[in-house]
């Protein structure tokens, strides 16, 4: 009779151990892999880091070769929109702008099914305002951002075809002249990137 009691206890222990084994296995599996593209996991952290690095590098190189300045000045002064953008919204919705900066954005993100928004923050006498350059929708919780400031000076020419004789001081440009002396405005370009 004593031996039967011992076996019952062992059975109970065995059941507990098996249950813990299953739960631990499940926990590990869920933590190690991304169940959906947007669920938090170690691999997702890594992807966010990579996306932030790519976005920062794009801003860095575009600022160095002048593409970023060209893109923020790619403004159609007649229609008061970014040149060749969606006429209803004044910004691009399908892809990056049709210039060097846009090509780099498309190659780095859009071609890899990664969505991005580009917003330009500028100063006004009443505080900071924003102008969308690219808007692909509302970002998810796992979105990352990278920013870079582009200084503009008085008399800088716009770069959009047909507007190259206009300067930023033209009334139709989105950012006003808030700087004294030769400074015009400081535009903060912000890229928001997330996986679709």
């Amino acid at each position: 009779m004593f031996s039967t009691d011992t076996r019952g206890q062992a059975h109970t222990l065995e059941a507990f151990a098996a249950a813990i084994l299953l739960v631990a296995g499940l926990t590990f599996a869920l933590q190690a892999t991304a169940v959906t593209p947007l669920s938090a996991s170690t691999s997702n952290q890594h992807i966010e880091n990579q996306q932030r690095a790519v976005a920062t590098d794009i801003l860095e190189t575009s600022a160095a070769n002048g593409d970023l300045t060209e893109a923020v000045l790619y403004w159609d002064s007649d229609n008061e929109t970014f040149a060749s953008s969606h006429p209803e919204f004044a910004y691009y919705t399908q892809s990056g702008p049709p210039n060097g900066f846009g090509e780099v954005l498309d190659a780095a993100f859009l071609d890899r099914q990664v969505a991005f928004n580009v917003e330009i923050r500028y100063e006004t006498p009443n505080g900071t305002r924003g102008q969308r350059m690219v808007y692909m929708g509302s970002p998810s919780d796992n979105a990352v951002t990278a920013t870079r400031t582009v200084p503009l000076t008085d008399g800088t020419n716009l770069t959009a075809p047909g507007s190259t004789n206009e300067t930023v001081s033209n009334d139709t440009f989105y950012a006003p002249d808030v700087g004294s002396g030769e400074a015009y405005n400081h535009l903060e370009v912000r890229i928001v990137v997330w996986r679709m």
Binding site: S3, T4, T6, R7, A10, H11, L13, E14, A17, A18, I20, L21, A24, G25, T27, F28, Q31, A32, T42, Q45, H46, E48, N49, R52, T56, E60, A63, G66, E123, T128, A146, T147, R148, T149, V150, P151, L152, T153, D154, G155, G179, S180, G181, E182, A183, H186, E188
Partner: protein, 330 residues
């Protein structure tokens, strides 16, 4: 005969005195195995958690680092474009150095306010102030045989805007270039000279060609650009200090000996009739005063040394940066 047969084993001896206890031992072994397996899995889960926390921790540091560099880039680019724009305006309005200097100092103070406002929203405190400004000369003029600068030791933003449509450069080749092509001569105080030739290649359907040579010898062709491939096919910018032709990289244009800053050099244009266009440059003399030139020269700010501080709850960043946009890389 001896009996050698072995009788069947004694069950009691094999099982022990208590048969049930042996069966229990088997089950306990199984349970122990399971417990060990669970322990191993738990260990792996713990290890994974550690890696995860380390990942998150490292990620935080990276983000803060990036922000400090971003503040630095904003300050450097803002100050750089301000200096260049102020110099251009001084050249157009014929301002004296006190006015230009004052405008740059005011502009940096304004940039400081802008930085403070922008980064306050992210929980950072910034401070940007001018440490010192160095006087130089801003030069503009047409491409013609002239003395560009007498005695300088630093040059930045030296750009030739060459007309390739109405009155394109003379068509020639590398061996005839020293006699026929427009060129910029750098006369180093040591007696060496370096030349940069700009001409239309007579064999390659008039591609704008840039070649470099030393001491008047036959030059080496560095780059060649077809103006039809460029956005603006009327004028091609030959950026000597930035080492770019028509926006494309062309390393080696700027003589390496001039980067070391030892001694001074004079800059001249020769064969001025062989090309049309205009030139701009910002230069400074070893004495720090104005520079003798046959082009239109106005006193200008050559470079600025700024003190930048950025502080958040996790990071304290302080640096002194010299801002000289368009200066050749060392």
């Amino acid at each position: 005969m001896a009996d050698v047969s072995i009788s069947p084993p004694d069950p009691d001896r094999l099982r022990g005195e208590d048969g049930f206890r042996d069966a229990n031992r088997g089950q306990l072994l199984l349970v122990a195995g399971l417990v060990m397996a669970v322990s191993l899995v738990a260990l792996v889960v713990l290890l994974n958690a550690t890696i995860y926390s380390e990942n998150v921790a490292t990620r935080g540091i990276e983000a803060t680092d990036g922000e400090a560099l971003e503040v630095r880039a904003t300050a450097v680019e803002g100050t750089g474009s301000l200096i260049d724009a102020t110099n251009r305006k001084a050249n157009a309005d014929d301002d004296d150095y006190t006015v230009t200097r004052g405008a740059v100092e005011d502009g940096v103070a304004e940039l400081d306010t802008h930085l403070a406002r922008t980064y306050a929203g992210r929980g950072g405190v910034t401070h940007l102030a001018v440490d010192s400004l160095r006087q130089g000369s801003y030069l503009t003029g047409n491409l013609s045989s002239a003395s560009v600068a007498d005695d300088v030791n630093r040059t930045r933003g030296f750009v030739l805007d060459v007309d390739v449509s109405d009155d394109p450069p003379v068509g020639t080749n590398a061996s005839a270039a020293p006699d026929e092509a427009f060129h910029v001569v750098f006369n180093h105080s040591t007696g060496d000279t370096h030349e940069v030739y700009v001409y239309a290649n007579e064999t390659e359907s008039g591609n704008l060609t840039v070649a470099v040579g030393d001491d008047g010898t036959e030059p080496t062709v560095l780059c060649s650009v077809d103006p039809a491939d460029l956005e603006d096919s009327d004028r091609v910018a030959v950026d000597l200090t930035g080492e770019r032709v028509g926006g494309q990289s062309c390393p080696g244009i700027w003589p390496a000996e001039l980067v070391s800053q030892s001694g001074s050099y004079a800059i001249d244009f020769e064969n001025g009739d062989a090309a049309t266009g205009n030139a701009t440059a910002t230069v400074t003399a070893p004495s720090g005063g104005s520079v003798g030139s046959e082009l239109d020269a106005t006193p200008a700010v050559y470079d600025a040394t700024v003190d930048l501080r950025y502080r958040t709850a996790e990071l304290r960043f302080e640096t002194v940066v010299r801002v000289a946009p368009g200066e050749p890389d060392v």
